[in-house]
């Protein structure tokens, strides 16, 4: 079993041979769905080379890298990070839409930024350090 750290959180998956995942695990970890056209999200599809897919499995590391995103793993190949590439980040920032997120308060209750739509938001970071 491996842990994938992605934009949608932490996902425990059954990985083999690097980060080959079932289509279901790939969808959970990446948000992209395996279809005949390739990996698809919303209306966009990215074709997969035959080397990156077999029998309903996806080489997620290869796929993610093809999107221009960083892929990292620990020495034991047990923990993987599917990062977001610079182009995707800059596109999102240029769009000016405040990126959504869900984080917990001290009590463990999750709060989602987009729930505040309709009000002005002053989003401020701080740290104990």
């Amino acid at each position: 079993m491996a842990t994938v750290l992605s934009a949608s959180g932490e996902h425990v998956v059954a990985a083999s041979d690097g980060l080959w995942l079932t289509a279901a695990d790939a969808a959970r970890a990446t948000g992209w769905t395996l279809k005949p056209e390739g990996m698809c999200r919303d209306e966009a599809c990215v074709p997969l080379p035959s080397s990156a897919t077999r029998q309903g499995h996806v080489d997620v590391a290869a796929f993610w890298g093809r999107l221009g995103n960083p892929v990292l793993h620990d020495e034991g190949h047990e923990t993987w990070v599917l990062g977001i590439g610079a182009d995707a980040r800059n596109e999102a920032l240029a769009d000016l839409a405040a990126a959504d997120f869900t984080l917990c308060d001290l009590g463990g209750t999750p709060h989602t930024l987009s729930a505040l739509r309709g009000r002005k938001v002053f989003l401020a970071t701080w740290a104990s350090w």
Partner: protein
């Protein structure tokens, strides 16, 4: 609404006492992975982003009222000269006044083209740095300190402008390190570059 986010990879451990002291009526959230910093291109705390009612960013990430006066602090007595203290408080007040003006009248919110131009620019190095930081903090959380620290060091190497990454890594080594001698040396190495670049707002003559 104020959304305060603690970029604290130790989770609630150290953030709790500050939040309980503040008794906030607003959202006070914990962000161990520094996700908000990554999403908004932030590099230091305190930084803020202003978001309008439609969910659009009207002021990209900027210093939220802090100044560089602390750099003149007497490190032995940990005190600042009265003029510096006064200037520092005046700057904080000016920033909060600007926020209030915006809430009440919309003033200081930037038009889309202007805001777009002020968004942080993410390089491939910075994007990779965030991935290393994510892995490093996760490995620290799961007891793999040596390997974690290699990734955290790589994150800072790739994104040297991120005080968040460097100071968080120092804090994970030991609470207090983020404000220790290595920190002061790194601040001094800035030379004339600002630690807290001032925002383009009244009261922050640039």
């Amino acid at each position: 609404m104020i959304v305060a986010v603690a970029e604290d990879s130790r989770g609630t451990e150290q953030a709790r006492q500050w939040i309980e002291q503040a008794k906030p009526t607003y959202w006070s959230l914990i962000d161990p992975d520094h996700r908000v910093a990554e999403l908004y291109g932030m590099v230091n705390v305190p930084q803020s982003v202003w978001i309008d009612e439609t969910g659009r960013i009207v002021r990209p990430a900027e210093t939220a009222g802090s100044t560089d006066h602390f750099r003149r602090m007497d490190l032995k007595t940990r005190t600042m000269a009265p003029e510096d203290q006064a200037a520092r408080m005046a700057a904080r007040k000016a920033y909060l006044e600007a926020v209030k003006d915006w809430v009440l009248t919309g003033k200081h919110g930037l038009a889309a083209d202007t805001a777009r131009g002020k968004q942080p620019r993410i390089t491939p190095e910075i994007a990779l740095a965030h991935a290393h930081f994510r892995l490093g903090t996760w490995l620290r959380r799961h007891g793999n300190d040596a390997e974690a620290d290699r990734h955290l060091a790589e994150a800072s190497r790739l994104h040297p402008d991120s005080w968040n990454m460097w100071r968080q890594a120092a804090d994970l080594e030991a609470v207090g390190n983020a404000g220790g001698p290595a920190f002061w040396a790194r601040v001094q190495a800035l030379g004339d570059k600002p630690y807290y670049p001032p925002p383009d707002l009244p009261g922050f003559g640039r």
